[in-house]
Symmetry: C2
Subunit: 230 residues, 2 copies
């Protein structure tokens, strides 16, 4: 330690996954207003200021560029290949979060973005920088995460049907789930409170019982970890 101190810049990037019952999993992207990669889609993010923590920086950039406010982001990985940014050496610390898409329908492009938009993760545009790489890693992480920690609390309405929860898990796992086994498992975890309400009908079919998460139990399971083999 000691000799040179090269000039390397530090940025943060945010992968915000949104979930919506009918739409599935989306990612929030911005269209870049400036070079490099002007008019390309990219992850929101930007330079870390000297006095702020990394997490503060992501939240700030997210707010500035997309107008959305996220409470908790988790660090994903740090990308630092020498040529990943054409301008200069930049290393980027990526963070990710999971939100309910419907809470953020009013996206406002701002400082460095000319547009902000949700993209279903099955239909992504071409991305600037190495952001495809970053996004892939984030998707991989979220898939793994679902298997050892409960998800859904922040992603569904307060009251939801079992089918809603099932769809959510199928979106994240990317495959089908047996309804009966899933229900048994979930009930066994005691994560859900059964309500005395029934869904209004949307077309044909038997109405479904409504549930809500048991917050205390949910948070306990987040700490302890679950083994979600289904």
């Amino acid at each position: 330690m000691g000799k040179k101190q090269p000039s390397i810049s530090v940025t943060v990037d945010a992968i915000v996954f949104g979930y919506e019952k009918n739409e599935g999993v989306s990612v929030l992207l911005i269209k870049r207003k400036y070079e490099p990669f002007k008019d390309s889609w990219a992850l929101p993010g930007g330079f870390v200021q000297e006095e702020e923590s990394l997490e503060t920086a992501v939240k700030r950039e997210l707010q500035e560029e997309t107008g959305i406010k996220v409470n908790y982001l988790e660090q994903l990985y740090t990308f630092g290949a020498p040529q990943r940014d054409p301008r200069q050496r930049i290393i980027s610390v990526a963070y990710w979060a999971l939100v309910k898409t419907s809470l953020f329908v009013e996206l406002k492009a701002d400082t460095d973005a000319s547009q902000v938009q949700w993209f279903n993760i099955e239909k992504l545009p071409k991305l600037g920088f190495d952001h495809k790489l970053i996004l892939d890693k984030a998707i991989q992480r979220i898939r793994a995460k679902v298997r050892y920690e409960p998800v859904g609390f922040e992603l569904l309405d307060k009251k939801f049907s079992f089918a809603d929860l099932e769809k959510l898990y199928m979106s994240f796992l990317g495959r089908d789930i047996d309804r009966r086994n899933f229900r048994k498992k979930m009930m066994g975890l005691k994560m859900l409170d059964e309500l005395d309400e029934w869904s209004k009908s949307e077309g044909a079919g038997r109405p479904s019982k409504m549930f809500r998460f048991n917050k205390a139990r949910y948070e306990q399971l987040q700490k302890e970890g679950i083994l979600f083999e289904i």
Copy 2:
């Protein structure tokens, strides 16, 4: 993106875990030659140069400061709290690795270190910076890792007894294991090849059969992941 570009420096730190049959798990630490934290123990590491990748940087620093060469390091986490370094804003990308202690008995303190030493993770000295925090996170990570990926290949001699492997797992998991169940599990995974050799005696006791890792199978399990519930 765009406005200011604050001057933040980027460092890498290395957590090198060493394993030795009789000693258990150790970490490689250096005694700092310069301020800040002169004469404190700390993780080896240093500034990233402008043209090198993060991984290259860790390897280089490790070699410079401790004389050891490590082939593969895995990124752990990036630490970036504003006040974590008293000099200036520094963010540090931490990497960790697992090596066989016996391969590195000749440690040579060099550039920034006045001493280099293995410390058993049960008997750690006080560390400078936020390195205790970093180390704790690394230990946590390694514990988790053992449970979904095989370890040992790089840590044991080519030929080893079942007891050796068992001790290794007990070190990492930090608890006892049932010998019989462990053996069944390992054999079931087909990770080991049984040899036609028996250990020479070291004191009393029945000689033990020797094994070696089945490299192909081992690597396959690394990719696929195992669920090591024992």
